[in-house]
């Protein structure tokens, strides 16, 4: 599903965010990436969804070399990826349901189907009764669940979650993690970054330890820290 071949990423200010990253994630796997702030976790996510291009090396997503995508192909490539951000990135002048529906409008779904799919997605994250509310009426955990519903509503084969629990307390964060784990049950590949070792311990998923742009170690699924 996802491959990194000798990937380097250096920013314009010469900061080396990633160095010689080699990685393979099979379809349907849940992989956690952890490390201190500035380790390169978010850069890795941005390279996967083609927000940035690697300075060197290849990023292969679903058999596509992201660097070789033509500009007009990028939107269609991104529709196969769901993204969850730490800071939610919701549209605050729209209702919860409209935020979720946006992903379907973008993908070209018909109006009637959109209502049905949005209701199902909100039900999956336990927000079926909050569709008409604006995001500021929700708690942090609820907002993150809306983001998750938006990311999953069109059933993408790959879900990227960049510090999805970063702004949440442990109990709320765990609720989000539990929902992410459910996503893999439908065959979706999940890449989730976090710096919270408690979640890593509790999730018992394959985990990559990254620091200063280098993968320093790996914990296999089921292993205890």
């Amino acid at each position: 599903m996802l491959q990194f071949h000798h990937v380097y990423m250096t920013y314009q200010n010469e900061f080396k965010a990633l160095r010689d990253i080699n990685l393979e994630i099979p379809r349907g796997e849940f992989v956690m990436i952890t490390g201190p702030s500035g380790a390169g976790k978010s850069t890795l996510i941005k390279l996967i969804c083609r927000e940035m291009l690697p300075t060197k090396g290849q990023v292969i997503v679903d058999d596509h070399n992201v660097a070789k995508l033509k500009p007009r192909q990028i939107p269609f490539f991104r529709r196969r990826i769901g993204v969850v951000f730490q800071d939610f990135r919701l549209l605050y002048d729209r209702t919860v349901a409209e935020n979720v529906a946006l992903a379907l409008y973008v993908t070209g779904y018909a109006g009637r189907t959109i209502n049905r799919e949005v209701n199902q997605a909100l039900k999956k994250v336990g927000l079926e009764k909050k569709g008409k509310l604006k995001p500021w009426h929700l708690s942090g955990g609820e907002m993150q669940r809306v983001v998750l519903a938006r990311a999953m509503v069109h059933d993408p084969p790959l879900l990227l979650a960049d510090e999805p629990t970063g702004n949440l307390d442990f109990a709320t964060g765990w609720e989000v993690m539990r929902l992410l784990r459910q996503v893999t049950e439908t065959g979706t590949t999940v890449v989730c970054t976090t710096h919270n070792l408690n979640f890593i311990q509790k999730m018992r998923k394959r985990t990559l330890f990254i620091d200063k742009g280098i993968i320093r170690g790996e914990k296999k699924a089921g292993q205890v820290l």
Binding site: C49, E51, P71, R72, I74, P75, F76, F77, R78, R79, I81, V83, R89, L91, D93, L102, A103, Y105, V106, T107, G108, A110, G111, R150
Partner: protein, 296 residues
């Protein structure tokens, strides 16, 4: 991509940036109003020109020494000219009778003694364009037995030239205002794009194409332009009524006479024209801006 969704998004933009919308609507309606004024003036000048042309006739003043044979020969020459539609001969006696109707002129003629008025021929032409009339008058002056010839169009020419000048001045003003309106719309869209950076970023991340992001902004431009056109038509109609009212009351000039017949039809066509022009200008402003601001 659903058109309904794009239109809904465009109206969301209208609702969200009320003050900016008001600025662009004002600029658009003012510029379109000036443009509409040009159309009204053009129509007025066209009708006035036709009105004046209808009244134009060339008068040839005949030499007293020409005699009856000379007069017949002269009239025959005139009638054979392909441009001539009709000729009326005014003898010296008939001219005296016509002028004597005015007491002041009769007093003046009595003081002179005898009949100083020349015989003349009033000639109606088929084509009454200024160039044609001038050319015919020059030809007429060179005929034997003709003392002088005139078409009395000097004043009309001056009036038409003055109106043409006013029309050009208003056109120049309208073009400047239209350009300003397009620039204002383009810049307002730039501001809107800037204010929506985060939203656009989210849309890109979830797979929105450039046209999905641009669509609502282009529709917004069209709506702004169309609304500006409608407002301009309303303002212009109101302005016309006010000017026509004062013109009739103070100057006894009925301006409605200079509009083509069927004023309502004219107004509706003009309104449709302004709405269409506004929509095209709004779209142009939006295209300029989204092309510049939304490059990935």
């Amino acid at each position: 991509m659903s058109l309904g969704f794009l239109i809904k998004e465009a109206f969301r933009s209208l609702h969200r940036s009320k003050r900016l919308n008001l600025v662009s609507l004002g600029a658009m309606s003012m510029s379109l109003m000036a443009l509409g004024l040009v159309f009204v003036l053009t129509a007025g000048i066209f009708n006035l020109t036709r009105f004046i042309e209808e009244k134009v006739e060339v008068v040839a003043f005949l030499n007293d020494q020409a005699g009856a044979a000379g007069l017949e020969k002269f009239l025959a020459t005139i009638r054979e000219h392909p441009q001539v539609d009709g000729v009326e001969h005014i003898s010296k006696e008939k001219a005296l009778k016509e002028f004597s109707g005015d007491p002041a002129i009769r007093e003046f003629l009595d003081a002179l003694g005898g009949n100083p008025l020349p015989a003349s021929a009033r000639i109606r032409l088929r084509e009454k364009t200024p160039v044609n009339v001038q050319r015919f008058t020059t030809w007429l002056k060179n005929l034997p037995g003709v003392e002088d010839a005139s078409y009395g169009g000097g004043d009309a020419d001056r009036l038409l030239k003055a109106l043409q000048f006013i029309r050009l001045a208003v056109l120049a003003l309208a073009v400047s205002l239209v350009m300003a309106a397009v620039i204002i719309i383009a810049n307002i869209i730039s501001l809107m794009v800037y204010a929506r950076q985060e939203e656009i970023r989210i849309m890109r991340i979830i797979g929105a194409t450039n046209w999905f992001i641009r669509g609502p902004l282009l529709i917004w431009g069209i709506i702004q332009g169309a609304a500006g056109g409608l407002a301009a038509a309303g303002l212009l109609a109101a302005l016309w009524q006010v000017v026509a009212f004062y013109s009739l009351r103070e100057l006894a000039i009925d301006l409605h006479a200079f509009l083509p017949s069927g004023a309502l039809k004219y107004f509706l066509v003009g309104t449709a024209g302004l709405i269409l022009t506004g929509s095209i200008l709004g779209l142009a402003g939006s295209l300029v801006s989204v092309g510049r601001e939304l490059q990935e």
